[in-house]
Symmetry: C2
Subunit: 229 residues, 2 copies
């Protein structure tokens, strides 16, 4: 029974990427207008097919690179979607990934060269196939991840202010947090480096810039590190 390697049951394996970005106020996802049938012209996640000689992680990175020109960003496998008729053309299994990117670093290429577009997660259009499901699952996962890993930093520029970080967490968790409590919490984690520079664009007084310290974080990892807001 289970010993059968039966070629009849071979199927296509797709990968679809939920790409999160952040632009000072809200959490966004990157979508493209699908340029082939079926559902040509509808909004879709970035997707592609797994090739025979690559892993899923490789396929996800390759797809992302080819569709957006972006590479070396945080990506994580999410879930395998397998409804028999999820793709009307052909039986396809899709493994979804989610990725976090810093919009500023990549924006021009994305929206010009490729016809991709950022949408606020609150008002994203409805997506093809089961992509809405994938998106919902990705958001839940991202929310949970923030409690375990300092994952948000991938969504910010290298240097950022406390307020930006706070806004990011508020956007991800979809709730407001008290500014003093937030700063106390983050400082107690001791994973940031306070720079001697200020960002003068947001206020007359200017606000200090910070950056994430991988070294400090690695130290903390040994002792059950977690962030809870």
């Amino acid at each position: 029974m289970s010993g059968a390697y039966n070629s009849d049951d071979k199927i296509l394996v797709a990968i679809d990427c939920i790409i999160f970005g952040f632009d000072k106020e809200s959490l966004k996802i990157l979508l493209i207008k699908r340029d082939f049938e079926p559902q040509k012209g509808h909004w879709s996640l970035m997707g592609g097919f797994l090739k025979k000689n690559e892993t899923l992680d490789q396929a996800a990175n390759r797809t992302l690179l080819s569709l957006t020109g972006v590479q070396d960003i945080y990506m994580e496998q999410l879930y395998a979607f397998s409804e028999v008729d999820r793709d009307p053309v052909e039986r396809t299994l899709s493994v979804s990934y989610y990725a976090l990117i810093n919009i500023e670093d990549h924006n021009e290429k994305l929206t010009k060269k490729y016809n991709a577009q950022w949408f606020d997660i609150a008002d994203a259009p409805s997506l093809i196939f089961d992509h809405d499901l994938m998106l919902q699952k990705a958001i839940r996962r991202l929310r949970r991840r923030t409690a375990i890993k300092p994952v948000g930093f991938d969504l910010l520029p290298e240097k950022f202010t406390m307020r930006q970080l706070q806004k990011l967490y508020e956007a991800i968790l979809d709730k407001e947090v008290d500014k003093r409590n937030f700063i106390n919490k983050i400082n107690s984690l001791d994973i940031l480096i306070k720079l001697n520079e200020k960002d003068m664009t947001s206020s007359t007084k200017g606000s200090f810039l910070y950056k994430f310290s991988q070294e400090k974080y690695d130290d903390k990892l040994k002792n059950n590190f977690y962030i809870k807001l």
Copy 2:
């Protein structure tokens, strides 16, 4: 480019199930001696192949039923493993699932009719392919799940004592907890029903039996329910 539905890249999709059980003292997994090549005779997770006309969930349930006679148990998709050479015979993607079953309810069938065997997770043999990896991931996931869902009850008989529940949590989390604190915690969750029966097998005094209340739990779900030990 990504529009290509290219048949050359069709591959087999396997599913492998990590089946957890609990026998009063320790957390166990169910393994079988593989009865076909490659690696015939080595210990393996329960596995099978996805058929063209079924979902992964269905395939996982079908496989479990056919290999163990067990059905209607808690199962959850874990992760898709995709190393190109993970199966030496043929390019295969494997989506792993983990399941929780109550050993007492199913034991005879499992170990007699099928040549399956329970192993303490602490001294399981090494497994074929990437199954050890799958097992590690499943254990981590199960540990984390206990904090979010009262998932452990699937591993116990319908009626159980507080001490059994405590031992289960200790086995899953691999740490000892204080009995009074544990009971206080569980009681404060208010998801159990205390029965007017005692289990007289474990002591002369006897200990009260409890059962899980789905209704109470569903009520709690509305307000960010979680268990932390």
